[in-house]
């Protein structure tokens, strides 16, 4: 037991804790706890009324047991009773129990709220503080409902003690975070801002935290806080540290408050008022200057506090992104930290520099530290620091240094920790693609990635390399040659086999002239890997083989022999067996012309954004992207659009009741990225449900839900198909029809009634299918559905003003949308996003403006969550350019 026991020690509690500590085993502990629980239960249930002290002691024991990790299912009532005790110490334990073990039992909440209300009204600061702490700790909705009006009153009341104000400010902050809708702005808001001028620095600190949260919610209401924050900050920064007495922390003046004020200023753009602006700049310069002064203490607390303020100041400088001198000074300061002996500082410098790298003013300055960062990658002993170094290299990468950075990252990958390999792979893949001047370098890089870290190369990465090779004919021959060479390695990764199979299947002919890579050599090379591979890879290789038959008639017989072998034709895997059977038949019966048509070279993929970026974002909350690419904007803007993007421009969804096997077999070859593959798979899965039941959901996507209800009498059947529009806007040109194979047509008559071409948002329409079964059948008819979701409005118009980028940008910004730079692959295009607020709803808006200076035309596309809004915005904006 400790020597000191302050306050009133509860002896029984101390004995109990000692007992628990002396338990030799988990079982013994549980036994002791159960004994105690039984004891407490009997005391609480006993006839004798417990005095306050005993009640407090037992409640405290229960709390201790709970904190050990055991469940507590009683004692809440006794704790609530303690709340209304007049003794501070009993009240305090009661509140602690409630804060830790809050229970959503509504009866209790009412009682608790009642006790809180009494304490808030008591005018006793100690009691008020306990009550406010409890609200802040629990922060439940019920409490917000009860006290959201009362707490602001206490906060700004003239006669509230400083300590109470501090508690009230943070209590309100918590309520605002958990239930912002319940904390209405009112006349108190103006008075809260003036707390920034309060004499008591503790009050200012607490109030600043609150104002930051409120200013994030409604910046306009708290605009004046910015100037007050600058004044306050300036006073702190220029003060001799002793002025602030106990708020000086290891010779640093009010570090917590300074950080908070700097954080508050990050809610706003740089001050417009010149005097204020120069005062702020002075503050920031002073903070930067102080970093160069010799430390006033050797204690780490001193340097930590000083650097905490410094780094927050740098964050503000980066946020403003408007003062080139400050940005470059910040960069130099961080550059010093990169070589600091404190690991923490090196970590933070790497982190902070990442954001500096994306500013046009400091990008070049950051690049000068490249060698140091590369050094960090090699010498840092802590994986989290190395991770930061990778992030920074990624952020500082541009065309000028891409080759070196990619090479260093590849080198690091050989020894990198498993935990960060996948991320490095994604980053290398993105950089290699983004800054590829010649695509042979790109192909080499990706193949290196697969060689070094094959297990961490996700599907997206090798999909992407194929996409690029197919779209660029200048690299196809090189790619074929390179994969052919890479495949010579005795042990190569399966991803390489996939890439190799695909590329040789398409472009093997480009290297077939060389006898060392003749068709037969190519085939034998691929086939030597076949048996080591998983089923999906084997399926891909079979497709490559049939492509070979078309490319090289001379190996046809060899390949046919392979396809004909028992291990293929009788393969236990149905997919492989089917491919073998079908490809064999195809090669036997089809004429050379038909073969050439069926197995023609893949058409170029439509240009689209790299799916690797999305993958990286998914992996990491905050992928910092080079060249001002706003990472979060990119992904999130894409997500809602993804469903519509499936097949632009007239987005249609075609789903097959029965995804016919050949289609499935070819899907890998047809489009490795098929966005529709997932929904189809779902539909397939759902189809089997209807074997044993007659109604339910057949298909569902983000846009559309299809339900079935069917009834059958003898050989006749009727199926009601329900199409539900899940969006808020109409589907246009809606049509659905049933198609059957020729054989099936003789076995089954299906007659579908026509449906209305428009489905309103949120509505559903019904289609009746009359069916007659002529004879038994095994094929399944296909239900085709096609429509155009209408949320998007597009207009093409002639430019009425000179087509200047800056002017257009200014107009869009003036219109009120945020511009998302780097989202559109074409840098000349503008992409914007915004929200239109109305009392009843918020309407999210995305817009894209594509100038065509050649034709002096614009194309404007609006997509919002409401059709009428899209229409109107499109109309309004199209007259402005």
């Amino acid at each position: 037991m400790p020597a000191v026991s302050k306050g009133d020690g509860m002896r029984g509690l101390a004995v109990f804790i000692s007992d628990i500590r002396n338990c030799k085993s988990k079982e013994a502990e549980v036994k002791r706890i159960n004994k105690e629980l039984a004891n407490i239960r009997s005391k609480f249930k006993g006839d004798k009324a417990l005095d306050g002290y005993s009640k407090k002691k037992y409640v405290c024991k229960l709390l201790f047991i709970f904190l050990l990790g055991h469940d507590i299912d009683f004692g809440h009532m006794e704790a609530v009773n303690l709340l209304s005790s007049n003794k501070y110490t009993e009240k305090q334990i009661g509140y602690l129990f409630i804060s830790v073990l809050v229970n959503s039992n509504s009866d209790l909440i009412r009682l608790i709220n009642n006790a809180i209300k009494n304490d808030l009204a008591s005018r006793n600061p100690a009691f008020m503080n306990l009550a406010l702490h409890c609200i802040a700790n629990v922060g439940s909705r019920e409490m917000a409902e009860a006290f959201a009006a009362e707490v602001p009153r206490i906060l700004v009341a003239g006669d509230s003690m400083d300590g109470v104000k501090q508690s009230a400010a943070l209590c309100l902050l918590r309520l605002n975070r958990t239930s912002p809708d319940l904390v209405p702005m009112g006349e108190w808001t103006a008075r809260v801002v003036h707390l920034l001028n309060d004499q008591h620095l503790g009050v200012v600190t607490a109030a600043t935290s609150l104002i930051i949260t409120l200013a994030q919610k409604s910046p306009d209401d708290f605009k004046t806080s910015a100037s007050l924050a600058v004044t306050r900050l300036s006073r702190i920064v220029t003060s001799a540290s002793i002025d602030l007495q106990d708020y000086t922390y290891y010779f640093v003046a009010a570090p917590w408050l300074s950080v908070k004020l700097l954080r508050l200023l990050q809610c706003y753009p740089p001050p417009e008022d010149t005097a204020l602006r120069s005062r702020l700049t002075e503050c920031l310069e002073t903070i930067l200057n102080k970093a160069q002064e010799p430390p006033k203490s050797k204690k780490v607390q001193h340097s930590n506090a000083r650097n905490a303020v410094l780094l927050e100041a740098i964050a503000l400088i980066i946020h403003h992104d408007s003062e080139p001198t400050l940005l470059v000074r910040a960069c130099n300061q961080l550059g010093q930290f990169l070589q600091h002996r404190e690991t923490n500082l090196r970590y933070l410098a790497l982190e902070s520099m990442c954001s500096l790298a994306s500013s046009e003013f400091s990008h070049e300055a950051v690049k000068t530290h490249m060698e140091t960062v590369i050094g960090a990658l090699k010498t840092e002993r802590d994986v989290s620091v190395r991770q930061r170094a990778v992030d920074l290299l990624y952020a500082m990468c541009d065309r000028s240094n891409a080759r070196q950075i990619v090479a260093e990252m590849l080198g690091y990958l050989e020894t990198a920790d498993y935990s960060i390999r996948e991320e490095i792979v994604l980053k290398v893949a993105i950089l290699a693609e983004k800054y590829a001047v010649d695509y042979s370098w790109y192909v080499d890089t990706i193949l290196n990635l697969i060689r070094i870290a094959g297990d961490y190369v996700s599907e997206e990465v090798w999909y992407r390399v194929i996409q690029i090779v197919i779209n660029r004919d200048d690299v196809q021959g090189y790619a074929a040659k390179t994969v052919f060479e890479a495949l010579q390695a005795p042990a190569c990764h399966e991803s390489l086999v996939k890439v190799g199979g695909y590329i040789l299947g398409e472009f093997g002919n480009l290297i077939a002239g060389d006898p060392r890579s003749s068709p037969l050599v190519q085939f034998n090379l691929l086939h030597s890997k076949f048996h080591l591979c998983s089923v999906p890879t084997r399926a891909l290789l079979l497709s490559a083989y049939i492509k070979f038959i078309n490319l090289f008639p001379e190996v046809k017989a060899t390949i046919q022999d392979v396809l004909r072998s028992d291990s293929q034709l009788r393969n236990a895997d149905v997919e492989l067996q089917q491919r073998a059977v079908e490809y064999l038949r195809l090669s036997c019966i089809a004429s050379a012309d038909i073969l050439a048509t069926v197995l023609e070279e893949m058409p170029p993929f439509p240009e689209r954004e790299s799916s690797i970026l999305a993958k990286l974002k998914k992996k990491k909350g905050s992928g910092k992207l080079p060249e001002n690419v706003n990472g979060s904007a990119e992904l999130h803007a894409e997500e809602p659009a993804a469903a519509n993007k499936a097949s632009p421009p007239p987005p249609t969804e075609v789903l097959a009741l029965n995804p016919t096997p050949p289609a499935a077999a070819h899907s890998l070859l047809v489009d490795v990225f098929s966005d529709l593959s997932a929904p189809t798979a779902v539909a397939e899965d759902h189809l089997s449900r209807f074997i044993c039941k007659n109604n339910g959901v057949l298909y569902e996507s983000q846009l559309l839900q299809v339900g079935l209800k069917s009834e059958f009498r003898q050989n006749l059947g009727r199926i009601y198909v329900f199409y539900g529009n899940k969006t808020a806007s109409s589907f246009l040109s809606f049509s659905s029809w049933v198609s059957s194979s020729d054989v099936l047509k003789t076995q089954l008559n299906v007659h579908a009634k026509a449906v209305e071409p428009v489905i309103e948002g949120g509505a559903q329409v019904q289609q009746v299918l009359n069916i007659e079964c002529v004879t038994d059948f095994s094929d399944v008819p296909v239900l085709n559905v096609q429509f155009r979701p209408q949320q998007e409005v597009q207009k093409i118009f002639k430019a009425q003003h000179p087509m200047e980028t800056d002017a257009a940008k200014a107009k869009l910004l003036g219109f009120g949308v945020a511009l998302l730079e780097g989202v559109d692959p074409n840098p000349a295009n503008f992409v914007g996003a915004g929200i239109i607020h109305s009392k009843s709803a918020q309407v999210g808006c995305l817009l894209r403006l594509e100038p065509n200076t050649h034709a002096q035309m614009y194309r404007l596309t609006l997509r919002t969550s409401r059709d009428s809004v899209s229409q109107r915005l499109c109309q309004l904006l199209s007259e402005q350019f």
Partner: protein, 193 residues
């Protein structure tokens, strides 16, 4: 036929459009706010000594987080840096003798100032108990919570002056020790801290 699909599509509209708008908000970066999510104190043996949660989580989630985090932090070597990324959060931790103090903050938060939050809390405990050790926190766990509440509230610093926090705590102790004094004080209207 009628009615069999009633309620079929109730609710999904809000969900879908809601998600869409949320995504957009994130895009523009309006809704971020910064705060400490929780603070944990645990021993070298991995025993949890204090837990303070500033965001609502179920008991199950809390236990899971605690287990994972204790494991992660204990596995780190002495000279490593005090910050690590964990899920979407940043963990700031420091070891004092046999105890690890560990805070979870958000991406934008200031790591160094959080490190000093930890240190100030340790100073407060130290001053209050007189060179604090793990046993003090075990046997007087309620005091450790009271001190923390005076110092941090809702995950933010309420009072950073050591003197003021200790004054508040000592005042409370005074109330505990002298019940006569206490009754007299509560009866009156004068209150000075």
């Amino acid at each position: 036929m009628d009615g069999w699909m009633d309620g079929w599509m109730d609710g999904w509209m809000d969900g879908w459009m809601g998600g869409w708008v949320d995504g957009l908000l994130l895009t523009i970066g309006i809704t971020s706010s910064f705060q400490m999510q929780f603070m944990l104190l645990f021993s070298r043996q991995g025993k949890l000594r204090l837990q303070k949660w500033y965001v609502p989580l179920s008991d199950k989630e809390k236990k899971k987080i605690t287990r994972e985090l204790v494991q992660t932090v204990l596995a780190r070597k002495p000279k490593m840096c005090s910050f690590l990324e964990w899920r979407d959060l940043k963990i700031v931790y420091k070891r004092y003798a046999s105890l690890y103090f560990c805070c979870a903050i958000e991406d934008q938060d200031n790591e160094l100032i959080t490190l000093e939050i930890i240190h100030r809390y340790v100073e407060l405990l130290d001053k209050y108990f007189g060179s604090v050790c793990e046993l003090d926190i075990i046997f007087n766990f309620e005091k450790a919570y009271f001190i923390l509440d005076e110092f941090l509230l809702g995950g933010e610093a309420q009072e950073t002056s050591k003197k003021n926090v200790l004054k508040a705590i000592e005042q409370a102790d005074l109330l505990q020790e002298n019940i006569d004094y206490q009754t007299r004080l509560f009866a009156g209207t004068v209150w000075t801290l």
